[in-house]
């Protein structure tokens, strides 16, 4: 498998269209799932996906170790999403201000939701919350790393994560209230 990927990458570096398509097909579903987590809508996710793969094919020479490719392509997609929404990290939705007030956290609230349902809820968050939430809760970034990525302070990163959780819990309770055992 690793050998095949190595050959595929070499062919892609030479600009062979068939190999590019094969590489795309191999990673498309995982990368589209990732894009959906960071995007506000399916259309945005498709835009990120397109821009991300263009970068992948144009910067493929940077990949020397095929084993590192899955992590690298994921990183490229995340960076593309961050570029798209970075400027909006500073914007504030009036709805968010109302929703983030005094929410109590509920244990195990994510257990009863499917991945698709979770992603659908994450998409409803404003970019500044969604990016911090994904980077911290899914990618495992520290607040220090997030602050550097987004150009915000560590305190802001923490507060955004806290607010993101609160908003998500409220939305989950509102949408799936009966299914959640308190």
């Amino acid at each position: 498998m690793a050998e095949k990927l190595e050959i595929l990458l070499e062919e892609c570096k030479r600009g062979r269209p068939r190999s590019q398509e094969a590489l795309y097909k191999r990673f498309a579903s995982a990368m589209y799932g990732l894009c959906l987590q960071y995007a506000s809508s399916e259309e945005d996710a498709q835009d990120i996906m397109q821009d991300g793969f263009i970068k992948v094919f144009s910067k493929l020479d940077q990949v020397n170790n095929p084993a590192a490719f899955p992590g690298w392509i994921r990183r490229v997609m995340i960076n593309t999403a961050l570029e798209k929404y970075r400027s909006q990290v500073f914007l504030q939705r009036v709805d968010d201000i109302r929703e983030e007030m005094n929410e109590e956290t509920v244990d195990g609230i994510y257990d009863s939701l499917t991945s698709g349902e979770l992603v659908g809820l994450i998409q409803t968050l404003s970019p500044k919350y969604r990016l911090v939430f994904n980077l911290y809760a899914v990618e495992g970034y520290s607040h220090q790393e997030i602050s550097k990525e987004l150009g915000i302070t560590v305190g802001t990163s923490k507060s955004n994560l806290s607010r993101a959780r609160a908003i998500l819990q409220k939305k989950i309770k509102k949408s799936y209230g009966s299914a959640i055992a308190r």
């Binding site: 995982a30 397109q50 094919f57 909006q88 500073f90």
Partner: protein, 466 residues
Amino acid sequence: MNEQQDRDKGILKDRLGDYRVDPPAHVWASISARLGRGSRRKMILISLSVAATIALAVLLGINFLQWDPFGPMETARTERGSGIEDGGSPGDRYTPTGTPASPEPASPEPASPEPADRPGAVAGPQEAAAHVEASVDLAEKAGIRPEDVGIRTEEAVALSDEAGARTDEPGAPSEHLARAEKSETDESIEGTILIAQEELQLDVPSGSEQENRDPRWIVGAALSPIYSYRDAEEQLLAVSSDYERGIISYAGGIHVSYRTGERLAIESGVLFNKMGIAISAPGVQVFKQSFDFAPLRDETGSSNILAVSNSMGNIVSQSGDIYVNSYKANQFYELNSSAVADEVYADQGIRQNFDYLELPFNVRYSVIKRDLEVQLVGGMSTNFLLNSNVTMPTTEGNLEIGYLTNLKTVNYSGNAGVGMIYHLQEHFSLRLEPRFRYFLNSINDQTLPVTRPFTFGIYTGLNYRF
């Protein structure tokens, strides 16, 4: 609480870390098309570059070959000097190649009793006739009537005709030559030639001679007040136009141009442009302290990085005490009830400044060539971003409160203008040139809406030609 967060983190990572969804088929179609377009675009760019280089090389090559720094008049002067005035032998004169002519055919008598020291001597009848005709032509060009200097056209024509009739008589030239030497008009002819040539050299050169003698290079400096503002997407303008307005600043630099033809010139140079926009109150509110509207502070005790998106980029405020109402600033909470707008700064607004180094490449075409020359100017510029900052007017001058992010460092602009050049004397001229410049690409990177700045300036300066 932390345990719960860690548990949630684990669940989310499991659920979403390998979340897969098949993308729609058109996504690959778009990627594939863009990949193909990219390579095609690259090929087009390479082809255009090669074509432009070849065109430039051909243009410069043609000009180089055509450019004779001495010009035809200088050549004429050399001929004259090597012959008549230098008192050279008659056989040295009026030979097409400039080498001594073949000696006359053997004759029992010398062609002339004083062959070398007579300035008025000519080589033979044909040459003499051609000489007469040329002198008449030159005199006419100079506006001198032949009669005024003792040449009668009939005589010249008769002499020419006679010379033509004798072309086939190898032994006869001496007779005609003697006649030519004795002609009273001869010295007048030479005098006319000298006068006419002097006249032509000094005052009335012909078109091609004038072109070759004119200076081709122009260097100069120009300075202009400029009005700068921006064009943007309609939806962005709807939001921001109420508060944003253009500013007056300045631009200036040096330029050099090369005349490639009678009316065409190419120009380049280096210009500094100070551009920007102003955001007026009530678009802007300034608070006394940054924590007035940032109640959640980081470890340092204050939120020290605040940014505001507007039509020209993201303003990152260094002091953190600025709030732009119409663009939703990055404050994460509503203002503290105790937040107090600074009475001094609240109504001042802010100004975004962009400093660019402009490298223009323009083509100049002279539509009127007189003492006041009028030129149409058009071309492109590459603009390098040198600096950006955000300032606020205070009683103590402009206070720098931040800078801008998400700006492209290299931009391209199109230029169009009308140049009015007043020629003071041979080498110096004054320039007055209204010029419009419009950015061809967005000043922002792709994370922000498309915004294209433009400037209008009236450049004035001094040119030196050589």
